[in-house]
């Protein structure tokens, strides 16, 4: 039998080592004082990125350890589902496994640890729910809460220097979506030059394309048609047709017919009464010239997501046939103009009646900064958009973890049998989060976490780590707020993953496929 097997103790050690190593890899990036990583591509040494986003780091590293792969997977799911907390979920799972490892060394069976963890998880979730607050009823207060939320998310990222500015940008952008969670409608445009401070949210919409040759660079009261139709060579989609002619004169005739067909199409388009035509596909010179002659501004090759966003912004529908002008909904905008950002010419569409999409223009001195800024902003946007659905929030800065740990510890006292050790271990793992936050900031973590624990036992439920002063602070006053859903999901995934890894007593590897 040519099976590569790791059994019992060996399998467990290999899982624990892999998982803990992974969590130690990302834990220094946690929190506002977390450090960044440089990721260098294996295939192309020039391709590097600088990031402190857990999901990005984990996605890029190559791991062959199965347990580590499970953690990478939960980080990805966390990113897809809630957008933030991708580091904390891995760190928490790692800490849970570290605790479990300690218990297994004390000869406690994994199944008992699992059932203890489950009890603890239930208590922790209850505590989390109890501590959550919902401020969605009062619009003004909710907006403030959103700003705080964005601030907390951004504080650990490169954007923290301009935290307030970007919080405003993110909140404005998300509120424009009107409850939709489709982040595709927010376009993030990265333009090198200037500094992060010069970034802004565009009132209208910016399209990174060019206006057709010889057409006006400025158009007021635009009536826009957004189309997805071939404007290069419009083939007839009947299969098996070939053109066979017996003289060159006929070739010219056919060619003319082809041209007529295109001109006809253009005529039909113009008959919609538009003065701006935006197509997803290429527009060849012939139709472009026709549009120019008829005073229609044409923009070619706007990619698919661009087209969808345009449709959302201008309220137009995406058109592919042009026979029923009366049925087609056109978009409107007060002004379309060519603008310059840095060196690049772009098209700005502004004054739309009810835009449901928007553009954020990011400026920065280098590509790496812009990339990281985009990732950070994306995290904030994702969190904010999810908060539109699940409006509850909790306090950050390690406050909620210590709070949950306290309840879990109380529960441990009630559990009889060996499970109580596992429940206690769960509480310890939770308290590691504020500890790591402190460690990363260079504070005396043992001291602060112990103080924090004491504060919570005194009944001060808002106590957390003040990351600026390095002492205990009131998270409500400091405005450190996190999304309930992020925490909920992180706790759930981390425990699920830890359970899954704990249950394994055998790793069976197939031979790697020959290349």
């Amino acid at each position: 039998m040519n099976l590569d097997q790791e059994k019992d103790k060996e399998a467990r050690i290999s899982s624990f080592v892999g998982a803990i190593a992974l969590s130690e890899l990302v834990s220094p990036t946690l929190g506002p004082k977390g450090m960044d990583k440089i990721l260098q591509s294996m295939s192309n040494n020039n391709e590097i990125s600088v990031t402190n986003d857990g999901a990005t780091i984990l996605k890029s590293i190559h791991m062959s350890n199965p347990a580590a792969k499970i953690l990478i997977e939960i980080s990805k799911v966390q990113d897809d589902q809630v957008g933030d907390g991708t580091t904390s979920v891995v760190v928490l799972a790692g800490e849970l496994l570290r605790e479990a490892k300690r218990l297994i060394e004390l000869k406690i069976h994994p199944q008992i640890i699992i059932s203890g963890f489950r009890k603890a998880k239930a208590v922790a979730l209850k505590a989390l729910e109890k501590a959550s607050v919902d401020k969605s009823k009062d619009k003004e207060a909710f907006r403030k809460e959103l700003l705080k939320l964005a601030g907390t998310t951004l504080s650990s990222k490169i954007l923290k220097t301009e935290k307030d500015k970007f919080s405003e940008i993110a909140v404005d952008a998300v509120l424009r979506l009107k409850g939709s969670t489709n982040l595709e409608s927010i376009q993030i445009l990265k333009k090198k030059g200037g500094s992060l401070k010069d970034s802004y949210i565009e009132e209208g919409f910016i399209l990174d394309k060019k206006i057709g040759v010889g057409q006006p660079k400025r158009l007021e009261n635009a009536k826009i048609m957004v189309a997805n139709t071939p404007m290069d060579t419009d083939k007839i989609k009947i299969f098996g047709t070939t053109v066979k002619v017996d003289s060159s004169a006929k070739v010219a005739e056919i060619e003319k017919a082809e041209r007529d067909k295109m001109i006809n199409k253009c005529k039909k388009i113009v008959a919609h009464g538009i003065n701006c035509f935006i197509n997803r596909q290429l527009i060849y010179n012939l139709p472009e010239q026709y549009f120019t002659d008829n005073g229609v501004l044409s923009i070619e090759h706007a990619d698919f997501s661009g087209i969808e966003r345009l449709a959302l912004v201008t309220g137009a529908e995406i058109v592919s046939t042009f026979d029923n002008p009366e049925k087609v909904k056109l978009g409107t905008a007060k002004l379309i103009e060519e603008i310059m950002i840095g060196e690049d010419k772009l098209i700005r569409i502004s004054g739309c009646p009810d835009p449901a999409a928007c553009t954020i223009v990011l400026r920065g001195s280098s590509g790496h900064i812009l990339d990281e800024a985009e990732r950070s902003l994306h995290d904030a946007l994702a969190v904010l958009s999810q908060v539109q659905i699940e409006t509850r929030t909790v306090y950050g800065g390690g406050c909620i973890e210590v709070l949950m740990a306290k309840d879990v510890e109380e529960e441990a006292k009630k559990v009889s049998g060996k499970e109580s050790l596992a429940v206690e271990a769960f509480a310890n793992a939770l308290r590691q989060i504020p500890k790591i936050l402190c460690d990363n900031a260079g504070f005396d973590s043992n001291q602060i976490v112990a103080q924090l624990k004491a504060e919570h036992y005194k009944g001060n439920v808002n106590a957390g780590v003040d990351m600026n002063l390095g002492c205990i602070g009131d998270m409500q006053q400091l405005g450190v707020v996190e999304s309930y859903k992020v925490k909920y999901h992180a706790l759930l995934s981390a425990t699920e993953a830890a359970e899954m890894i704990l249950r394994v007593d055998n790793i069976i590897k197939s031979q790697p496929r020959r290349k």
């Binding site: 939709s180 098996g240 053109v243 006929k250 999810q386 995934s493 394994v504 007593d505």
Partner: protein
């Protein structure tokens, strides 16, 4: 054999084949085969029972599966040996026929062979062992039927079914929500079951999974879920009282199977062709619209022009719907799959009370849900979980639970679990062995010993002293004449499986015994293994 000539023209013989072959014969072959089966058993037996452990399987591409389902473990293992392949087939056989007990069947077959080795060492001929096993298996099956009981249930009271499903789910990582998952599985089966004919078409139960959320969010959807989105981003996302045209033809001009060539040699013909093309699209959309449909599901794609026409005619549509889903949708909505536009009419449309597109998570990921289908014949279980591995394992667990429930609907006889039937059979078989005067007596007794392997593994996995537990159980079963005593895996304080509500299907248990015995017999009868090495 090849004759070749060297450079001086002298002939020489090349014997290639000998080098390529490896041969094991007689006792050696048997020993090697048995060893392989036993080592597989040793891998699987730690996964038995509610306290069983999982395995991580790493595929050749580095993909990871975490499971404790016997069939899945074997399926994902890198198997090259023929005996291993036989055992994988065995597990699959159990999976196809019964759907549950895939681990036990391999463990039992392994145990039978392990016992056989001892007999072989004593000098008993393998055929005699095989005959003895055959005989013992008959006794065991008869005994199982004797100790089985019947359960009752109907559409309203299905608590017993849930209990049975729970036994099946209890050994998986998802057992935290075993009650919920079992309920979902049972409800799903009952919805599609035909209780009069005692038949369940399992393929009408769709099990779809998406990562995200928690297992707790897993739900039974009374309808069908398609992992697709509306073809045009601005189409309606929600349709009430949907009349669905289910099309298996593409929205494009017809493509005759016979090869043909269309020659264009004049401008008129060119223009005509162009008109024809336009007409095709318009006609197609018109035919759909005229049939009264307000939702189009198409197995194929359609191009931008058709897409827009559909949108303009307020016909939300979904493209690239899978064939299996098409059939399910047709069944559930009472519609017909229409292969030609001209055959579309109102009678062939499927009806669904509510159809909507639901976004998931932050990455533009959508699903389409068809609810309140007119025929109510198909349901979907939508599984959520924190990571891909959990979702996959939950799907497998649900499959097991669904199979168990189906088996009970087919045949409502059960035996109690926890190793109780194995112990009881073991007692019955060894009692019968004493009455047999031939050599087979030994084989029959070994069969009884092999039966003990399952409760022993259960006890081992639950952290109990296996030998002590089994001997106690045996003594107690004889003393109290109660065949329901089994291993108390969960430490509930009673060994009576009837009180613990742990039960398995009779059909499943019988199948396990039969399949494992057959496999053991087959392997025992092999006395010559000739291996051909490949070219490399």
């Amino acid at each position: 054999m090849n004759i070749a000539f060297d450079e001086y023209g002298r002939p020489f013989i090349i014997m290639r084949e000998q080098d390529m072959k490896e041969r094991l014969t007689g006792p050696e072959a048997r020993k090697a085969n048995i060893l392989i089966a036993v080592s597989l058993m040793n891998i699987l037996k730690t996964s038995l029972g509610p306290k069983g452990m999982d395995k991580i399987l790493v595929s050749p591409d580095g993909e990871i599966t975490v499971t404790n389902d016997g069939a899945t473990i074997l399926d994902n293992m890198d198997i090259t040996n023929e005996i291993e392949k036989l055992l994988v087939e065995l597990s699959k056989g159990q999976d196809d026929e019964i759907g549950d007990g895939t681990t036990s069947v391999v463990v039992f077959a392994g145990a039978l062979l392990e016992q056989a080795q001892k007999l072989l060492d004593k000098g008993i001929h393998p055929i005699r062992i095989a005959d003895g096993y055959e005989h013992a298996c008959k006794i065991a099956v008869e005994h199982l039927k004797k100790i089985s009981s019947e359960i009752t249930f109907d559409r309203e009271n299905y608590e017993t079914l849930i209990t049975a499903a729970m036994t099946s789910v209890s050994s998986k990582v998802v057992n935290e929500f075993q009650r919920q998952l079992s309920e979902i599985a049972v409800k799903a089966v009952l919805t599609v079951a035909d209780l009069e004919r005692k038949d369940v078409r399992i393929d009408l139960i769709q099990v779809q999974g998406k990562t995200g959320g928690s297992l707790k969010d897993t739900q039974l959807i009374d309808g069908i879920v398609i992992d697709k989105e509306m073809s045009h981003p601005q189409m309606q996302k929600e349709v009430s009282d949907a009349k669905i045209a289910i099309l298996s033809c593409p929205f494009e001009p017809p493509k005759p199977k016979t090869g043909y060539k269309l020659n264009i040699d004049s401008v008129e013909k060119y223009k005509k062709l162009q008109e024809l093309e336009q007409k095709y699209f318009h006609d197609m959309v018109k035919l759909v619209k005229d049939s009264g449909a307000n939702l189009v599901l198409c197995q194929w794609g359609f191009d931008d022009e058709a897409n827009h026409l559909l949108y303009q005619n307020e016909l939300p549509s979904v493209r690239w719907v899978g064939g299996v889903e098409m059939e399910l949708i047709a069944l559930a909505t009472g519609g017909r799959i229409v292969p030609r536009f001209s055959e579309l009419n109102e009678k062939k449309l499927g009806l669904a009370g509510h159809v909507k597109e639901i976004p998931l998570g932050t990455t533009n990921d959508n699903i389409i849900v068809l609810e309140k289908c007119s025929q109510k014949k198909a349901v979907c279980i939508f599984v959520r979980g924190g990571n891909k591995m959990v979702v996959d394992e939950a799907k497998r667990s649900l499959h097991d639970a669904i199979c168990v429930t189906r088996n009970l609907i087919r045949d409502n006889k059960i035996v109690y679990g926890g190793g109780a039937p194995e112990i009881s059979c073991s007692l019955a078989v060894s009692k019968a062995a004493d009455e047999i005067s031939t050599l087979e007596q030994y084989a029959i007794r070994s069969f009884a010993d092999a039966l003990d392997q399952i409760p022993i593994s259960l006890a081992e996995n639950s952290g109990l002293d296996p030998i002590e537990t089994i001997s106690n159980l045996k003594a107690n079963q004889i003393k109290t004449n109660n065949p329901f005593l089994g291993v108390d895996c969960l430490g509930k304080g009673t060994e009576n499986m009837k009180e613990q509500n742990v039960f398995d299907t009779l059909a499943g248990k019988i199948q396990q015994l039969l399949l494992a015995t057959q496999m053991a017999k087959m392997i025992l009868k092999i006395d010559d293994v000739i291996l051909h090495h490949g070219q490399n």
